[in-house]
Symmetry: C2
Subunit: 329 residues, 2 copies
DNA sequence: CTGAAAGCGCTTACAG
DNA sequence: CTGAAAGCGCTTACAG
């Protein structure tokens, strides 16, 4: 049950080098020999051990995805794209989940130092300029998704523009008191989207009003949850002067907001952010992020870099798209 | 940038064995020595390489999750539970995604033979009795989630009972023509749920009618999608005699079904299956599967087995719970 | 096309 | 508490 390359070599009457060659698709093996080796291997159920191969070859054929939260719609979609691409290429996928509470950079550095993979896909990992620079020194293929740093290939969506577009679409409909249902204030997407929101207001000459920003304290998924949206909307509907309309920082929060409005019996137009598959089915207007495409493309970009460290760094920035549905009618 | 245990040993003035001991938490190292080693390691940014450790120790501290589809609500929730548990334990998580089209058993066998991990969590992997038996021979810790085979620890939910409960709840309300919005007929959960559905009918003396089973052909996520539900419900609403009520095979399909009813302008009570987080927010009655708990508990069970191969095999079967909300009012 | 041999970077008895 | 040395299961020049 635990045969090694030596067992196969002995049984097939060849050297271990030859067995190794057979399993490495080397073409310098005669068909006869190859067949003999394969037959024996098949019979005893032999496969090269991943760790031994990794150590000896200093390669691993593994791509590692590094993310803060796995159970999250955005990540799930991006990952779908990653898989689609990987399936074509024959790499193995590994996922490393960094925990929010601890020293983020330390965790990221750790996983790289351990050399688990040949290439890394960082999804929604936000570091400081200084820290990216340090990572750069490891000289390992890394592609960033949902983040931007000029030293690495990256694939992202313009959050500022997306929030701007969402807010503007509401303002253009004539609403003045447009609220923003945010999540954890310190999170990167919220910070960016707040900028876009303010920009749209400024353009219309509407003064920014702090009280129209409803943010949550929950650390769980940074507040991008149904519950977060529900609670935020409840607060909003209890304000002395209820907003005219609302820009929600994510579709999943909008789902909660919709319920809150129903429960309270008051209604206002809302627009979400992401365009998860579900949104079409609940008639939610939103800002589409091409999540699947991002995963797909980022993976391609990473693999290209793994094959050629010298290629020029590419920054891909998708423009978010306004999707109009019934929630803003 | 690529220091090994030798570099650290030399710089710290000790042997490589000592360096190794420091990184393996062995307590037979003096505090002075330990500090010296740690200081040097910190300075040069050293971490043991995963592959070399794995090969030398024949252990890997890695748990691998094997699944058919990653971007799927059920899996996402289960994985959330897995992570919660793993975080407490300090194992690394790897995910292996088997593709639907190919020879499933071959893929599963391959990943085990490569010895990527010390323990495996199989989620929604359905094999034949015969194949499970073969896997058993590898003598590797495996825990099954959403599947049952007496040779391995398993954590599952009684699908037959769940479907029975759902269908019965509709029949008890007085509906006679209760349809089932299924997905890919050949999928395991559908087969089981169909049994439960029939059982409930039989109990009430209602003859089973093939035309009330609406199944899809889509391979994508086995048809457990919003679109699948939407299309199924459209079909149903176009039948000459529209059913009185409908049991949907998953919440996500129910979301699609809800939209279909709205679009067509006809309505019938429906009940879903899963109780994904979302369902509470759209008022969907459903059958709750404790997905997070299943992941959590399965991980615990797996780790216990990894630590003690001799422990008795445990089969945990959760009873699904009926959650009553407005969609069946 | 094939083999002998060194080496990948660790761990772990075995001695002391 | 510490070190010398063998071994984990492969890959890969180097020779032939």
């Amino acid at each position: 049950m635990a045969s090694t390359i030596y067992d196969i070599a002995k049984q097939a009457g060849v050297s271990i080098a030859t067995v190794s060659r057979v399993f490495n698709q080397s073409n310098s093996v005669s068909d006869r020999t190859r067949k003999k080796v394969l037959d024996v291997a098949e019979a005893v159920g032999y496969h090269p051990q991943a760790y031994a191969q990794g150590l000896a070859s200093k390669k691993s054929n593994t791509i590692m995805v590094v993310v803060p939260v796995i159970s999250n719609y955005f990540f799930m979609e991006v990952l779908g794209g990653v898989q689609d691409k990987l399936q074509q290429l024959g790499y193995e996928l590994s996922i490393f989940n960094v925990t929010a509470d601890d020293n983020l950079f330390g965790q990221v550095e750790h996983v790289i130092k351990r050399r688990w993979a040949q290439g890394y896909l960082f999804i929604s990992i936000h570091l400081k300029e200084e820290q990216w620079k340090q990572l750069k020194r490891y000289d390992v293929p890394i592609t960033l998704v949902d983040e931007h740093y000029e030293g690495f290939d990256s694939v992202s969506v313009d959050n500022i523009q997306g929030a701007y577009t969402a807010t503007k679409s509401l303002l253009d409909k004539g609403f003045r008191r447009v609220a923003m249902l945010a999540a954890l204030k310190s999170s990167k997407p919220i910070r960016d989207r707040l900028i876009g929101y303010k920009k749209a207001l400024a353009e219309k000459g509407i003064p920014f009003c702090e009280s129209l920003i409803i943010s949550g304290e929950s650390q769980y998924r940074d507040g991008f949850t149904e519950r977060g949206g529900y609670e935020g909307m409840i607060k909003m509907l209890n304000m002395e002067e209820i907003p005219d309309a609302c820009f929600c920082a994510s579709d999943i929060q909008a789902v909660g907001a919709l319920k809150a409005m129903k429960d309270i019996g008051k209604h206002m137009p809302i627009i979400g952010y992401d365009d998860i598959e579900l949104s079409e089915y609940i008639g939610l207007s939103t800002i589409r992020q091409p999540m699947r495409d991002m995963g797909f493309y980022a993976t391609q970009s990473l693999v290209e870099r793994m094959r050629n460290q010298e290629k020029a760094i590419s920054q891909t920035i998708y423009s978010p798209e306004l999707i109009h549905r019934s929630s803003t009618d």
